[in-house]
């Protein structure tokens, strides 16, 4: 009886149902991406920007870009590398724009925030001083070498993935990392001459 009362114009078109379902699926996929990778992206952003608020902004911007391309999410082969690459480009762009800002204050503040292994206050102060020195040295490295060194600190990223993020070959990653380590060794040996 109730079936006879259903008129054709009252029916919901199957394509409309599919469309809504697809929209929900895309939103769910995006939410899952946020859940899974927001922390990783934040850490990548923070390692470059060294500022919590800027890093969070960068993560949000990265996911807004993903939202624009959510129709093609299924075509992305390695979503983690893809997302890291997006946030990497964002933070490099922000860093370039904010280049005029003095970084020494941020570095010393950051060094205090980093965990120190020492028990006494003196040990912790020494560790903070060491971190400050290292971060200042890293800022003195050439951009290409510095980028590889920063990304190599992420245990979850392989050299192939770093190469994919930077858009270079794996052998280039290795050679740049080798150069970066040599430069760091030189800088740490004679830190005063480089100031």
């Amino acid at each position: 009886m109730s079936a006879s009362l259903t008129l054709p114009w009252m029916e919901i078109a199957p394509s409309a149902v599919h469309h809504e379902t697809r929209q929900h699926a895309k939103e769910d996929a995006l939410a899952a991406l946020v859940e899974q990778y927001a922390s990783t992206l934040y850490r990548v952003a923070f390692s470059v920007l060294r500022n919590a608020a800027d890093a969070e902004d960068a993560v949000q911007e990265a996911f807004l870009r993903v939202l624009r391309h959510r129709d093609s999410l299924a075509e992305v082969r390695d979503q983690r590398v893809w997302l890291v690459r997006i946030v990497w480009n964002i933070v490099l762009d922000r860093k370039r724009r904010a280049k005029t800002r003095p970084e020494t204050d941020d570095v010393s503040e950051l060094a205090r925030v980093l965990p120190a292994t020492g028990l006494t206050a003196e040990d912790r102060a020494a560790a903070a001083q060491h971190h400050t020195q290292v971060l200042v040295m890293i800022d003195k490295l050439p951009a290409k070498e510095r980028e590889v060194l920063v990304l190599s600190a992420f245990e979850e990223l392989t050299s192939v993935e770093i190469a994919s993020i930077l858009g270079i070959t794996e052998s280039s990653v290795r050679s740049r990392l080798f150069r970066a380590r040599n430069l760091m060794a030189d800088l740490l040996e004679r830190p005063r001459s480089t100031k």
């Binding site: 469309h19 927001a38 390692s47 993560v59 939202l67 600190a153």
Partner: protein, 173 residues
């Protein structure tokens, strides 16, 4: 995979990389995921064109496939318009033919001789005599050169000398 993090680096550099590692493992602030989700939810749909389906989303009159076709047609029409406009402008604005004529500057007295000073007609004297090439001045009919002259007698008869006084008398006889 982890070969780029091997232990063939000096201790100082390894300590420096430890600092970077501390940075890389710094935990994300609490509530980051919720804030990102909230921002994404508050963001309007990506763009107008990507969701464009003419008469709503019921899909009955204009299904997404049809609207995609329409979008393609509109894009093709725009491309045609732009290309046609460009060609119309190109076909109307042609480069003037005079622009291809290269005007050479007149050389005045460069060779040291006279010039016609731009006159319409100049006398032949100005151009000087034309010397004929002797090699080109040969007779026109080379067959006549081979004609053998008739043999002449050993004593050629002298022409009778005509006395100037007798001449009128002989003429009278």
């Amino acid at each position: 995979m982890t070969s780029i993090r091997q232990n063939d680096t000096p201790d100082r550099v390894r300590n420096a990389e430890e600092t970077l590692r501390l940075l890389a493992t710094r935990p994300a602030p609490e509530g980051l995921i919720d804030r990102v989700q909230a921002r994404l939810a508050a963001t309007p749909p990506p763009s107008f064109l990507s969701n464009w389906s003419l008469f709503g989303r019921n899909g009955r009159m204009f299904s997404p496939i049809f609207s995609q076709g329409l979008r393609g047609c509109a894009a093709a029409a725009i491309v045609l318009l732009v290309a046609g406009g460009g060609f119309a402008i190109y076909s109307r604005v042609q480069p003037s033919p005079s622009a291809q004529i290269i005007v050479m500057p007149a050389r005045v007295g460069n060779s040291g001789g006279f010039s016609n000073a731009g006159a319409m007609r100049t006398p032949d004297t100005l151009n000087g005599p034309v010397l004929a090439n002797p090699a080109l001045a040969l007779p026109a009919n080379p067959a006549q050169q081979n004609v053998i002259a008739p043999p002449q007698s050993a004593h050629p008869t002298p022409k009778p000398a005509v006395h100037p006084r007798k001449a009128p008398a002989t003429q009278a006889k």
